[in-house]
Symmetry: C2
Subunit: 542 residues, 2 copies
Amino acid sequence: MSNERSEDQAVLTAPPMKWDAWGAPEKRKVLSDGIKGLLRQALGVTIRETPDRVAANVVLAPSAVSEGQLAALAGIVGEKFCSTEHDDRLLRAGGKSTLDMLRRRSTETQNAPDVVVTPGTEAEVTEILGYCADNSIAVVPFGGGTSVVGGLDPVREKFDAVLSLDLRRFDSLIDLDIDSGIATLGAGLSGPAAEELLGARGFSLGHFPQSFMFATIGGFAATRSSGQASAGYGRFEDMVQGLRVVTPAGILDTGRAPASAAGPDLGELFVGSEGTLGVITQVRVQVHPVPESVVREGWRFPDFETGAAALRALRQEGAVPTVLRLSDEAETGVNLATHDKIGDETVTGGCLAITTFEGTAEHTAERVAEARTVLQANGATSLGEEPGNGWEHGRYDAPYLRDALLDAGALAETLETATRWGNLATLRAAVTTALTESLSGQGTPPLVLCHISHTYATGASLYFTIVCAQNDDPIAQWSKAKTAAGDAIIAAGGTITHHHAVGVDHRPWMRDEIGDLGVTVLRAVKNAVDPAGILNPGKLIP
Amino acid sequence: MSNERSEDQAVLTAPPMKWDAWGAPEKRKVLSDGIKGLLRQALGVTIRETPDRVAANVVLAPSAVSEGQLAALAGIVGEKFCSTEHDDRLLRAGGKSTLDMLRRRSTETQNAPDVVVTPGTEAEVTEILGYCADNSIAVVPFGGGTSVVGGLDPVREKFDAVLSLDLRRFDSLIDLDIDSGIATLGAGLSGPAAEELLGARGFSLGHFPQSFMFATIGGFAATRSSGQASAGYGRFEDMVQGLRVVTPAGILDTGRAPASAAGPDLGELFVGSEGTLGVITQVRVQVHPVPESVVREGWRFPDFETGAAALRALRQEGAVPTVLRLSDEAETGVNLATHDKIGDETVTGGCLAITTFEGTAEHTAERVAEARTVLQANGATSLGEEPGNGWEHGRYDAPYLRDALLDAGALAETLETATRWGNLATLRAAVTTALTESLSGQGTPPLVLCHISHTYATGASLYFTIVCAQNDDPIAQWSKAKTAAGDAIIAAGGTITHHHAVGVDHRPWMRDEIGDLGVTVLRAVKNAVDPAGILNPGKLIP
């Protein structure tokens, strides 16, 4: 097990995000006049200028770890991999949801991990977990810091302190089995770092969620991530061939074969465990040769219902693109899919869909022809390559727009769910109504946009974007709307989350999602692998 | 929840098998001269005639349930659904492995369930589990009775008696969501009964394991079954959208959506649980329209290695048939794939592969053309339709041949495993060597045949058929060979079972398969849902 890299490489491969916003400072978004006009006219936002925030001005509660504890932790990982510095703690004080960003703006004392530790080996992780169990310290595993569900909140519960366990040093391509198309990746590799290591050998993972630029391989596994090319390459759990997980009770190594009938699939118990059951250190994933051909195409449907039926037909008849998405009338109207042009009027009316096909040139050509036949028979009009290229260009940038909207005085957030095709229209209506009524009732009527970004033979996801004016207490404002949406999702038969995970934010609905016995089972597993309960308390398991 | 059917329908839809052999009496196989010649010449079998066995002559241990217990159980399900009759007990004394068949031939007192109960509702199942937990009675869930791993053995462990819980009355198509392609099926429906109910509505499940004619929907889920069309329609767990499971601690209903990030996938914990964690009563499965076009084709490869590489290319390039199989030189040589012709010399030399494509006419035509290009570029020569049709014709009949071989004095059994493509040749050689050495060492050199019947982008299954002369103690003879094969599988990095499940027979290797912590996790889940431990003791969990 050689899984160690130098500190310098680690820093390169896991780029840190800003503490008070998504992503890299240089990609900060300036709102166009089109967007500003939309905010003023449609939502009644009074546009404001927000000055830059200074990290040093944020007041954090003092670190609760003692000098002795710090020395003990430094003794395990080495002094330079153990920090109680203000900036290190602040950067790991939470994820990047709208609520996180609003909380970071607070002038009151903020909660943050008491210490940040960056181990380099599984043995060190094991030692840290043992030390924390013996010393009443909770452990929050940290990858790219992109959680939008409170999965990284420094929840203390019964513990005296919280340790942020940063996995960025697990950043190697440990093995590549070319014949089998299986790569063994360190959990701390970011999306781009993994693609770069694989790309140098001619392979690709094909997992491109919106968080791709920052999120890590371990985080993808821990949260059941699903990427924008999931129609072609599957959800992250479909790619996972095996996991290595360090728990307080020992190490689990799942997946002896591509498929097995040797009892329950224990890998599926740790995929989606969100750091509550163990620390994922390695993930074996299915990879594929870098596609030689990529063909993108935009389509217009007269309405969302027609478009959804066409996506269903394409899925069920088996001519499946790698990317398959459909924006509703409202999202198409504001041109959000290709959001360099929000407010422009290049696409008017109907619903925009995007398809991408990848593979060998022959494979792609055949699939494109087959898909065209199905889509056109189901009401689609081709818009050529441009909309697909526009979407591709801005595919990771929506969070930058969100942050600019927050600074300008708008409230902007997203949420997502999924259901079977037969229930999709009902669920979409229920969630839209719940959000609209909740926010209108608070005096801030919202724009609620929706798209399908993940499809299955049996159903699809629904991804909502909500924008309205902020009121005086935007944290309470959004929390009320989110509660209304969550209740509506459960009542209408959807899942509380299709690809954002549970964390703190969706935990209130977990009992509705999996039932009393499901909770009992999760608690039993938790007690078996983490008897002291130190791993990510307050998350996932109600 | 309306899940009740009449007794008569139940009997019709779950055909019982013979007590001492596979399947229906009228399909009994008579060995051809070709096969007899092969047995004599190649394996030294002295062909013998075995008289018919009479069920009434089998001595069963007396039923250990008291009159009072019988009355209590009859009070739950009704008198006619509760039996201690000799024939009912004998039919559920085990599964249909070679060891089972050899044990049924014994003239000594045999172990059998003490009582057979056939509940009609989930409430009755709950009551039975409660009664058994309070009265020291173990419960063995029973579907089609096709286990080949000892999954139905009436193991008592610490309990005073064993109850066989026959699920054949859970035999409805409970719901069909046509838009979503999701059917909700009673767990007791046999393969043909489910296909008939779905077929009447224009749909098919597409799950066709060799046990198809007798095994049940609940059994497919409980054992992680994989059918002959798994390349196209997936393993059974891929089809499962949700489960209802009755446990002593309550009912679990998994799967709110086609996909979810709401924590671990608990369905994957109960798929493959082999009756040790609960009684599966309903399964929601993905279904598809009955294909309008089916195209079968046979192929010859010069050798197994070339054929395996071609299957891998086909899988990884994405032109995947519904059925994709490859026999090795030995299996091709004895013509086992189309076993009406065993011993004939219609196919000589090389390795036979079979592909089947299904779907709309256009879809099928395009995929066939694409696959031909890949296969021919990888060393395949087309043999036309005939080999595929021959295989299709005999696809469920191998167990009848096995029984005829046993009666004739040969030992015949199968076992299977899987691994990544990069390890396939190593694993095949290791298992072949272990079986050959063990049986040759016992004075009965075997014929060891092998085929690939399930493929994945990252690997494939290996299915071995072993035939040799019986010695004086064929149970001990096969047990030694099986132990050698299991040890070899673990040492060579394969899974102990790809689609036959664990039961009693593979349990000795479960700790090697999933590790100490994996066993701890399974035990924790078991204790949470079945605190008295009544559910299928001695199976799966070491």
